[in-house]
Structures are given as structure tokens and as C-alpha cells.
Symmetry: C2
Subunit: 772 residues, 2 copies
Amino acid sequence: MRGVRGMLGRTLRAEKELPQENAMVLGTLASIRSVVPGFHVDSPLGEEGFWLTTEQVHGFHCLIVTAKADRGVLYGVFALLSRMARNEEVVALNEVQQPYAPLRWVNQWDNLDGGIERGYGGRSIFFEDGRVRTDLTLVREYARLLASIGINGCAINNVNANPRLLQEDFLPQFARIADAFREWGIRIAIAIDLSSPKVIGGLDTFDPLDPRPIEWWREKVDAIYRRIPDFGGFVVKADSEGRPGPSIYGRTPVDAANVIASALKPHGGIVFYRAFVYDHHLNWQDSKSDRAKAAYDTFHPLDGKFDDNVIIQTKHGPIDFQVREPVSPLFGGLQHTNVSIELQITQEYTGQQRHLCFLPSMWKEVLDFDLQLNRNGTPVKDVVSGKTFRRSIGGLVGVANVGTDASWLSHPLAMANLYGFGRLAWNPDLSPRAIAEEWTRLTFGSDPAVVNTICEMQVNSWRVYESYTGPLGAQTLTDILGSHYGPGVESSERNGWGQWHRADHEGVGIDRTVATGTGYVGQYSLPVAKMYESLESTPDEQLLFFHHVPYTHLLRSGKSVIQYIYDSHYEGAEHAAGNVLQWKLLRGRIDEPRYSDVLARLEYQAGHSIVWRDAVCNWFLRASGIPDEKHRVGNYPDRIEAEAMQLAGYSIVNVVPRENASGGKAIECLQPRGCKASFQFTRDAGWYEIDVVYFDQSNGDSSFRVLVCNQLVDEWVANDTLPATKIGGDSSMRRRIRGLALRPGDEIRIVGTPDMEEHAPLDYVEIHGLQK
Amino acid sequence: MRGVRGMLGRTLRAEKELPQENAMVLGTLASIRSVVPGFHVDSPLGEEGFWLTTEQVHGFHCLIVTAKADRGVLYGVFALLSRMARNEEVVALNEVQQPYAPLRWVNQWDNLDGGIERGYGGRSIFFEDGRVRTDLTLVREYARLLASIGINGCAINNVNANPRLLQEDFLPQFARIADAFREWGIRIAIAIDLSSPKVIGGLDTFDPLDPRPIEWWREKVDAIYRRIPDFGGFVVKADSEGRPGPSIYGRTPVDAANVIASALKPHGGIVFYRAFVYDHHLNWQDSKSDRAKAAYDTFHPLDGKFDDNVIIQTKHGPIDFQVREPVSPLFGGLQHTNVSIELQITQEYTGQQRHLCFLPSMWKEVLDFDLQLNRNGTPVKDVVSGKTFRRSIGGLVGVANVGTDASWLSHPLAMANLYGFGRLAWNPDLSPRAIAEEWTRLTFGSDPAVVNTICEMQVNSWRVYESYTGPLGAQTLTDILGSHYGPGVESSERNGWGQWHRADHEGVGIDRTVATGTGYVGQYSLPVAKMYESLESTPDEQLLFFHHVPYTHLLRSGKSVIQYIYDSHYEGAEHAAGNVLQWKLLRGRIDEPRYSDVLARLEYQAGHSIVWRDAVCNWFLRASGIPDEKHRVGNYPDRIEAEAMQLAGYSIVNVVPRENASGGKAIECLQPRGCKASFQFTRDAGWYEIDVVYFDQSNGDSSFRVLVCNQLVDEWVANDTLPATKIGGDSSMRRRIRGLALRPGDEIRIVGTPDMEEHAPLDYVEIHGLQK
């Protein structure tokens, strides 16, 4: 009724009996049958499926939404509302839908202090100041939103779990969250720390085979279920990135998972045991060492030993949510164990909701990937939904990390990822374009210009992001040691984290073959392994993940690897700039606040894609010594480097890594009253635009003024909140001053005033002529 | 440059010399002549006029904006920007403009505590907490805005003046305001309290003929001019509504005005002495007594005695900014004295920016009114601009009262009044429609549907407001003793304020004729007096201002006065409802925030016009005993009175005056936990909308819930900030619940929960069928 009222402005009447008039009738099959004798379903309905149909009842036209259970009716109602919202027919319906996978969960990495690990949409909707929020309005809205796309569970706290959540006084608090979710058919889980029996339980051990921790877990779980009878279970990150785990006592993940599973079992709870277990002190000098092998090496030997209410929750790729990875071989390595696939909705490595990156395009490729475990075809979607190996539970888990921002994920177009996750979990046979179109029409209405433009942007955006970050399977070439955001080509090398791309002056990529490399390829089924073992049959977009090749290696297109790296980065940055122009055509067709918000983000992305392009291309130019055939890399005729300007007060600094600033240098101002950088314009008279490339750190709000022949033409304060406290690829920003009349001999002057730790840093200025 | 950049996104180059290319050239005639030999103006330019022209200079095309002085150049630039903003031709210009009146001032009635007397647009932009604001950004924006419509002066504080403003420490503060205004060619004045020499000067008298106050004023003025060399002067409200004045010492306004004028004279300052002087303890039982006569009686005998830097500032009508008044006869009574006309932009008696009321329609009639002082025609505009009696100063003063609200006057369409005031002061020959169209295109763009709809609404809005408040010259029938907002038909009667309409059971109107009435008509020139003296020649719209007639008196249309009162109120309320429908057609053509804001106000106005309609019509029905021919007044078949519902907890209260609530009664809830009022729906099954009419006081935020057969269909909190602390015509509000399916026998229940002094008060419910 809320949905119909919001869309049509009419309040439907709620009645418990069939009225003597046309009606929409909502109810379980049993309740419909009790009032409509002879009513029956043509096809079988699963536990959560629904049927939309029409029927003459006592001479009246009834639109019937029915299902085996309440939750199915709820999903049916949302399907009906979605049709209405998208202006689709609802008069003569006959539609049965079943969810593809039984478990369709989201995880939130929320901390009790209100922050969110790898969250880019504001503060936690669940927690603040170490407690559950008093006002749970947003939690209820989130629950409704999740239910509308068929999500049936949510883990509410960071996998790097605070043991405090299991303290007795916290139970009534998270029980309130469970209450808010319950009316929308969503169960909650919490992430736990395996050392809890020791840390908060007062025991001297958390050895999973010691009877005291076993008893402790049983009592804890019983207490939770007394208050939350539909509690979902626990998420476990153990022996991973410094988290405590069973290895301390020489025990296995099986020992740890099964102890907790036993406690949950009588109540119907589940253990989501994360397969993200690896050694982050690998020996980078060992050419056989390979982080990609860790999950399979750890969990494959344990296959069949986990209890039937344990799920091994596996990231889709063997590394960590990079812009491109092959499918994790562990999905083929657990044939007697429940599994779920973990996808990341929050854009940790894919632009952090400042860049547009529509992830269903990537997920769809992952879910459709055929592991070739038998002759009938074994796509990942069938393995994780439990179909392939006839597991009773299994499904998809999305790390959502929505926050208090008005659009939940900050970028107004980013919610298409959460929507797409839910839709793929329900039906992985939907195409990314169909998903983008549904979302766009639900979110922005059905104006064809709006729908086409946004869909086109969304469906291309993942490949665009890949093309200016890390193409050919080299993974996201980002700063993996810190922000996971801007370029950081070398940050992966010469350390124990194992996200190596092994680029040197001769070539790039890791040899993961069985014959000559790390042997990772051998974790796949024979046919898949055969494909990846051979350089010839490995797809270009995965090439550098599996093979080390010289820069001159020719791709299928006949283009060399090095030229492809150059070209893809330029093409990606051009595409990002083109999105700005496309978006501007929608002015007036979208409400002004969202129009302006998206425009600002697309303009930022266009600028930052140039930072990426230049950093990656210059790094590879320096490493390979092979020039760009098109003479772009290293040649910037429209650019005036700040370090080449006439400086008053400003001093020149070297930027590390050098490719993260143009020319490897920038200028900084340490004079509290400000500094000047100026140069003379020498080109023809005409209309121009000036891009000022500066750095905006989070630890100061410098201000800038730009003058042409003493006339102020622009001023701004660098007060964005980028993930950076120093000059570099994370903090680089582009300010475009449009429509300037310039004459040869004009002096262009930039006046920067520092603030706190941010020293009004400047990289360069670029001047472009405008068409008349 | 700011204007062009904002509109076109291009930053023009500022150069001091003529460039060797096409250019816009701005400068005084002298400066243009110095670079363009032989340049001359075809027609004479006054002190503030300007010329837009084009000229070939050294072979280049130049668009020249020139004037005798800087201020004229500024006005020329704004005229050029306005053309650009309205998509008009700017290539081949040859346009000379001169302002009609030399003084084009606004007054602000701002108090030092930050409040604004009769201000409906937020807090003061000048003052807060007894001081001038630290941040004067809004003052600078206001100055730019005023300059753009040719305003050249602003009095910055309430005419009910705080003497503190003249204390020594305050001078540096308001000098900052003068500095902010100066760059936009605007002088400031301050309103003063005549008793200042005594109250803050430490003297024992402020007798204007005593040498000590004379000396005090001279020193005070000299000090001001040392800091503010272009200070404009003083505004004086004296011997009026309790303000001290020369009458205390038996002196005249001439004595008081001239003393201050002498102090200002050497510096070029002006005294704006307000003619709003009247006795508010009139004897209402004396049929000769008449407040309308006061200004003329006081000031006409003093004509010719004021110094030449004194202006008598006279409200446009003889009473006080009512929705309809005749022109003040004082404009004809001061032929040897400088005068200015005071118009009210802030909608004190015309809906307080909650109702749409475009006042240029009214002002245009006032300015065009021919006082017939000589045979050539003497329209008010010529008298006040100084033309008729060849006065060197004179002009128009608008009481603006903008505030900190984002749209300055709160209602997004209300700024058309300030715009229109400036445009009429510049050129009173502009039509109200032309002004409305200029403003709309500048404010909302040139979409014809938007321009036509808004213009049509604006130009009709004054007559619409008049029609449902006080037609036929009866003045605004509002609560004149308090809010000046909602209906208060009898508030004007039987008290000394003299805003009487003299309605009783036989007739209505004041006899102001010479022959049988108060004699007011005799203050006009003979031809005008002749027109108003006769019932036959008095225009219907002024009828009741000049004559007392029986309700059965027939108007020119053949309709009786009483039926006209009924009909006009119904027509006005229908028109207000029609505006809502018109506005809804603009959805998507106007940015959402302004669209929604205006829609909410138009919906409120439609509801409140019904409150007005019913209050006035029922009062006259009761007074006259003559029923409405169309059987509407007193008959409300769709209405269910709250006092007739089944009540649980609620108690019935009498409303005073009784016509300000339907049926004279309402219900209130004194139970903290809430009360219920319910009734049974008895009409046919179908789609309906329900209007719940309740009261929203400013001293509490009650909440309401509406249920149909136990189903919640709407809920809201009564938290608007209307000018009312009790039940009545000021606080009456209408909540419309749209699109409800109702069936005979349905129970409709309203649950009200009181808060503080507001007792969840309800008046009635009205149910309307919806077309299918």
C-alpha cells in the first residue's frame, strides 16, 4: 500500500475478507485456497518463489499475488510494484518466479564506533559511539530496500570483528536491529572473533577442541536465540590478515567451524567461514610462491569434513576483488562442502564510488564461467547455488557497506551495483543491460534519453575503469598498501602481500603455469587448466595473471602488450571524458540535485582517469624503454609544469612514486601568507580553458586563486575529503576554468595559500583551445 | 563579468585601454570620448540615465555602455545583462533609458535583535543580537540585486527606531553596511527616534526649538558624514502609534523636520518624514471622525514650510496598505513640498508571502491615478517624481523587508514584487504583465509554458486576493488588532483605530462624503471629489470606502452588494484552487525544489482562501440575514463538523469570532495521550479525497492520524509556524488525503495528540468524490 500510494497517490483498502468488488489479493497458497475454492498453481513454487496471476472470483477481477510462504508473497508484491514503477502491464499477469540461490545475503563491514571499513557512503546506519543507534529508521528503510530485491540476510558488522558484540549487554542492542529487519523477511548474522571465549569469556584458551570454549559457544548461541529466534548465524574471518584462528592451537578450519556450527545447528543457524585465508608474509623472491593458491591449498584438503550448516564463503577471485581476476579454483575444489561466493558491492578497488563502475558486468562473467567439472557444464552460478553438487544451502554474499549518505553509497549511480547484486542472486541469467535498465527506470523514470544514456554508461563503465587502471589481468595497479584508490604501480612488488605483477624492464605478468610457473593453474579442472596453461589459449584480458611475457608480445589483435597498455589507458580516459558530455545532454531531464551531483563526479572521474593514465603509462615507459607509437606518453605540449613556472615562495618537491605527479615533481608553499607561480601565455589569441592540476589532501584546506593579467578569473578551496594525507595519485585534482579569452603575452598567475599540513601543492597547468 | 560568466560560462577580459579587437566598452561619456574621438550622444542623458549603443572603433565592433556618471554605467550594464538573460538581441543596440524618479529607495524594518517588523522572509540580513552581523555576504548580494533594478538607496532599520543606532559605538558598525552598499551605487539611511537627544544624548529635552538638541543633531550628523561621506539621511516616524514627536512640546512636524534637515543639509542628506501620523484613540461613535483624513489634516496646512531637503513620505492610500484604498489626497495637498510615495513590498495585509499577491498591479493603478490638480493631467507618478510641481527631489519608497530566506521573501514568487517595485520606480509606464514577464524569464527561464502560467497567475493574483478578503473597497477584512493575516471581520469595529467598515444588519461602508459623511472626500481636487461624492460615479471597487449602502444596493452589474460579497469570495477561492492545477502542469519544467515549494504554498493558499471565504460570507449572512442566492453560504453538504462526530476524549469549544471556524465550534483534546473523533461514511462506494481542517498554532506541535476502518491512511505533525497562538482564522489549516477508496459504513477516525499549548484542535472534515 505504501508503494502504490507513493507512485499513484491512492491508498488501497486493506481488508481481511474477499470484497464484493475487483481487488488485489495477497496471500499464501493456503489462505487463497480457503477463499477461492479450486484455486491451484500450474507449476511448483519453491519456499521463496511467488506467482502473479489473475482470476475471476465470485464474478470479480482479482489480481492474485501468492506463494508458499509469507516471504514469497512479499517478493511477489515487490515484483508487482516494480512493474508498476516501470510502466509495465499488470492487467493480465501469469508469472512464476523462483530465486536461483537459497542464500542471498549482504555483509556490512560496520564498526561499533560508526565507521565502516572500506565504506564510502557515510557513517554506519547501525552503530555509533560503540553502541547500536537509538534511531533505526534508516535500518528499516534499508531492510525494505533489500527485501525489494530479494535479499534474505544481512551480517551487520565488520568481518574484522570486535569481540564486544558478543558481550551480554550487547545482545538486546543488536536484537533491535533483528526486529527491524524481521518484518521484511531478513535474518541477521554477526561477524565474530574466534578468540572471544578467551578475550571476553574469561577462559584461558579458545582452542576449538577444548570442552570449555565449546560449552561457552553453546551457551552464547542459546542466549542469542532466546532473544532472536530467527538469528542467521556467524561470519568468521580467522587466520587471515592477523586475525586469530585455530592455527594457533594447531587446529584446522574444520575444527573451528564445526564447533560453532554444532552450537548453531539446533536453532537452524549457519557458519559463514571465509576462505580468505593467506600468508601475507610471502617470500617475493621465490618464483613458486603464490598467494592465489592459498584458499585452495587450505580448504580443498578439508572438503567433506565441514558440518552441513557450515558454508565456505569464497571471494570470486583468488586474490582480492581486483578489477579483473579469474574465477577462484576453490569453487571446483569443494564438491562436498557448502559454498557461497563473496562479491564486493562497495567499490574498494574499483573507484570507491568516486568512479563509475557497474559491477554486474563483471559478476555476470564470473557467474557464467564454466568450471568444466563435468560434461554438462558447471557454471559458477550452479556451483554456488548448490545445484551442481546438490547442496541444500549455498548462495551469493555481497559486501554492501551502505551508509548514512542520502543515496546510501554516495555516488547516485552506485546503487545500481547493490540492485544488480540482488537481481543476479535472484536470477543470474539476467543480462547486465537488462539490470541497468530496470534500475534506471526505477530510479530516474522512463524518459528514453535518460534510460539509454545511463544504461550505456553503466554497462561500459567496468571495462572503462579496467582500461585506465590495470588491463590484461595485471590486476588494479593501485596503491595496495594504503588507500586501494589511486595509482601505485610498484606498491605490489617486493613485499610479502603477494599481489605481484612482476613487471620489470623486459616484461610483465606472473607465470602461474604448472610447467614453468607457480603451479596455480593446476588447481582448476583439466580443461580449464589446459586453457590457462597455454599462452595461446589464455584470453588476452587474463593474460598477465597467468603468464609473464615480454612487452613486445603480440596480442590477438596484433598489437604489442606495451602499446596496448598505452592505448587502453588513453582510450579509457577519453571514454571517461566522453561520459561528461553525454551526461550534460540530460540536463533538465533529471532533477537538478542528482544531475549536478553526478556531473561533478563524472568530471572528477574524467580528471582522475588522466592521473591514472599518466602514472601507469609513464611507469611502463620507464620500465620498458619502449616509446608510445602515437607519441603521447611523456609528451604533453599543452602542459606547463608547476616546477617550470616562475615561482615566488613556492618550492619544488620530488613526488614519490615519481609517476604519480607530472614530471615527477610538484611545488609546495610553506609561507603562511601564500606563494605565487606564474608563466606567460604564448599561443594565439582566442578562447581557451585552463585545467589547474593540484593536490587536495584530507589534512588541510588550502586555497587557490588564478589571475590572468592581474584579473581574478577563478578561486577555490581544496576541501574535498580524498583518502590522502600527502601529494600523489590519491590526492591529485583537476580544476577546469572554462571560457577564458587569452592573448599572447598574458601573464597567468596562481596564488596558493597553505592550510595546516596541506601546502597549496600544484602539479601542472594544461591549456586547451575552445572551438568557436 | 560576473553576470556574463554566470550565464555564458566565459570570463571576459578586463582591460583599461581599447583593445585591438571587438569589445564591450563600459565607461562614462567623458572616458569614452577620450578614446573614441567624435563620440557623441544623440539625446541628453540625465544624472542616472544610460545609453547602449554600437560603434565601429578603429575598425572593430564595439558595444558601448555609457552614461554621465558611474552609476548610470552600472544601470546600463544591468540592462544589457537582463537582455542577455532574456535571450534578447544585443548586437545592434541603440537604447537610451532614464529613471522616472530621482529617489528609488527601499526601507527595511529590521530590528537590532535580528527580527524584522512585518517581515516574512526570515531573519535580518543586517543585524543579530543587537549588533551588525559579522558576515555581510548577504548584504552585498542584496545590494547587487537592488542595483540591478535601479534602486539607489536603502534605509536599514525599523521605522519604530531603536535610539541605540545613534550611539557612538554603533557608527562603525552601520558604516560597514554603507561600505557594502557603496560599490553598487546605493546610499544608506537610518530610521531615527526623535527623542534621541534625550534618551541617548543625556539632555533633558528633545524640543526641536531648543538650541541644545539642535546642536546635538548637528554634531551627530557631522560624525556620521566623517565616516560615511555618501550617507543618505534619516527616516522619521514621529507622533504616530505611540512614537514620541514634536507634539509633546507643542511643536509641529515642520519644526522637527527642519532642525534635522539643517544638520544634514551641508552634507547633502535628506529627511524622510513619514506622513503616517494619526490618532489611534478615535471616537468610533462619532460619525464624523475619520482616520483617513489625518495625514492631510496634519500636513496640508504645513505645505511650503519644510526645508528643501525634507521629503514627506506618504503611504499610497489614506489608511495603511489595505488590499484596496483610494489614493491619498495628501499627494494633491503638498504642492510646495517634496513628497515620496511609500509602497509596501512585504505583504503585511496581503497574505504575508503565504498567499500569492502580485502588487505591481495595484501600484500601477495608484501611480496612474489622475489627481486632476490641473488641466494637463496630474497622475500620482508625476507628483511623486517631482515633475508636476517641479521639485528637485521626490520618488518612490518600497518597504521591502527581505530576510535570510534563500529566496529573500520566502515565497519563491514574491520577489516579483520587489522586482516590480524597482521597475515601476524606474519606469511607471511599464505594464504589470510586462514586468511579470521580465521577472519570470529572468527567474525561471524562457519556456513559454512556464512564462505564460506564472505571468497569468501573477497578474490576476491581487484581484483574486482582494476577492476572497475584502472586496468593494471595504479594506482587507483581516484581524487588524493582531496578526493582520487571517479573517477578522469585526476586529476593525468599535475601537479607536479607525479602520472601520461600519457593517451592521442593514448595510455596510463608511459615508465619507462632504454632504452627509465624514467630509474626507473634500480633501481631493474638485473633479475627483465630485466623482467620489456621488454614489453613482464612485467605482464599484471603491464603493464601501466612500459610501454606506444597504446590502440590497445594486452594483453596476445589477448584482446586489450582499450577493457580490458572496460571489466574489467563492470565485476567489475557486481561482486559488485553480492555481494549484495550473501549477501542476509545470511539473518537470521547473527545478524540483522551487516547484515543490510553490506548489505547497499554492495548496495552502487554496485552503486558506476557503477559511477566508467562509468567515466573511457567514459573518455577512448573519449580519444581513439575506441568504446566498446560490445556497452555498451556510450549507456544506460534504462537510462533517468535528463537533458532530463521535468523540472520545475530545471536548467541544466555541471559537471567537465564531465565523472563523466552521459552525462556530471546534474540538480540542486535553488528554496527553490523545483523543479520537470518528464518524461513519454513508455515501456510495468509490474513490474520494478527504480534507481534514485543523488548527496549527505556533505554541505546540500536535500530531494527527487518520484511519479508515482501522487502517492508517495518513499521519502528520502540525508544526508550521503560522502567526497564531490560538484556534481561529490565522491557524486554520487543511490537510488533503488523496485517493481513498471508501465504502458505505466505513468508520473514519481521527486520532489527535496534543503538544504543549496546542490541543490537537479540529474544525471539520470534507469529503469530495474523485472523477474516475
